[in-house]
């Protein structure tokens, strides 16, 4: 999926739930098996944005979603649904099918 497409999806995530959601996505990242599969560029962006406290911002959510989806797509989509973001989960699934 392209960065432009995912940015549009991120924009749908209400600011009020971003702080909690970012923590939940971080937990998926920290606990998923196969952490070595995370691309080097995503890992560096993730750490940089965490250091700067920007994980709940647009860029941070974008990186977190990409990273979490790459390590554990099932848990990420489940988390989005549980956060009442089924629309976002559906949009991501459609983007994935689109490639």
């Amino acid at each position: 999926m392209s960065s432009v497409d995912l940015s549009e999806v991120v924009a749908k995530i209400p600011r009020s739930i971003r702080s909690n959601l970012s923590t939940q996505l971080v937990d998926i990242l920290l606990n998923a098996k196969g952490g070595d599969k995370l691309s080097s560029s995503l890992a560096k962006s993730f750490l940089y944005l965490w250091q700067k406290d920007r994980l709940a911002e647009d860029e941070g959510m974008d990186v977190l979603l990409k990273a979490a989806l790459s390590l554990d797509a099932e848990a990420t989509l489940k988390q989005l649904s549980e956060s009442n973001l089924s629309e976002v989960a559906d949009a991501i699934q459609k983007l994935s099918k689109k490639g």
Binding site: L38, L47, Y48
Partner: protein, 331 residues
């Protein structure tokens, strides 16, 4: 005021360890220690990355050893690391983990002499003095000097558990990493450090006394205990009988754990850990229980409390608990 340190074992991919390091710095930890085992990720690669993603926290090897890694290489590694973030690097060195060294086929001889000489060698290189015809009982160096200058003093911490090593730490170390978790053991250890310092005419004010604990925290005490069990199992298996007897631990029960570990039967070994064993060799509990136990430890004269592995069943949440509920109590 006591400083708080945290220890990470770089057994997972680098970005996870760095994530926790950033979290620890944001949460007010003062020191960060990374273990050095050849089976895990490189301590120096991990520390370099941590220094690049943090601004304030002091970092060090927790601990390297002079048997697997030449003290000359350690001096070069530490000095190079110091260039990444001058003044934020310390060197932690101890005699090493016997089990890991045996696996590597490394013979541990004269650990006390080796440590004394290693600290002398590292200090000489870091201070720019170099070594000429150094004739130790373990290490001999014809001529060695770093080809670059170290612009600030780098403290050396000595990891210690036994009486002689604790005294040596008091005699030579800028800091000591006391490998214990039980308040009575730590009190005894601090007295030995004081003896060593006194014998060398040094003031304890110059020595950072760190309690390097096996720590586990959770809102639910049972879960904190369970997370501590694997680490305690390894400590019990490696403890000599007199140490087990001192803590009134059943030798037969300890042997059962050791046998299971040797066979690779971890579930049996871990589940055989008792509360008595965990009380003797770890600091675990709810935030309130941890605060109570840490308070006892601080009375011994400890100046740095190190939250060591496993920290908790979920490391991020455990660090968060320490940051929000434990550290503020002592500040």
């Amino acid at each position: 005021m006591v400083n708080f340190g945290v220890e990470f074992v770089p057994k997972d991919v680098y970005w996870r360890t760095v994530y926790y390091a950033i979290q620890a710095e944001k949460g007010g930890f003062d020191n960060l220690w990374i273990t050095d085992h050849f089976i895990n990720r490189s301590v120096y690669v991990t520390l370099t990355l941590i220094l690049n993603y943090t601004e304030r926290i002091k970092v060090g090897t927790g601990v390297t050893n002079p048997f697997l890694i030449s003290p000359l290489a350690t001096a070069s590694n530490i000095a190079s690391l110091n260039e990444v973030a001058p003044g934020r690097v310390v060197c932690g060195i101890g005699a090493g983990d016997l089990t890991t060294l045996e696996q590597a086929g490394v013979q541990v001889t004269k650990p006390l002499s080796a440590m004394r000489e290693a600290v002398q060698m590292i200090n000489a290189l870091l201070k720019g003095e170099g070594l000429q015809n150094f004739e130790g009982t373990v290490f001999k160096v014809k001529s060695a000097r770093l080809a670059f200058k170290v612009r600030n003093p780098i403290p050396i911490y000595i990891g210690a558990q036994g009486a002689k090593m604790l005294k040596l730490a008091g005699e030579m170390g800028d800091g000591v990493l006391i490998n214990a978790s039980n308040p009575a053991d730590i009190k005894e250890a601090v007295e030995l450090v004081k003896e060593g310092a006194s014998s060398a005419g040094r003031s304890m004010d110059k020595i950072d006394v760190a309690a390097y604990t096996a720590f586990s925290i959770h809102e639910n005490e049972e879960k904190a205990f369970k997370a501590a069990m694997p680490v305690v199992a390894f400590i019990v298996a490696g403890a000599p009988d007199p140490v087990l007897e001192k803590h009134q631990i059943n030798l037969e029960a300890a042997k059962k754990i050791k046998d299971a570990l040797v066979k690779g039967d971890f579930p049996t070994a871990f589940s055989a850990v008792t509360r008595e064993m965990a009380d003797a060799f770890s600091l675990y509990g709810t935030p309130a229980q941890c605060i109570e136990k840490i308070s006892q430890i601080l009375k011994a004269g400890v100046t740095q409390f190190v939250v060591g592995s496993p920290i908790g069943s979920n490391v991020r949440k455990a660090i968060d608990l320490v940051v929000k509920e434990v550290i503020p109590h002592f500040r």
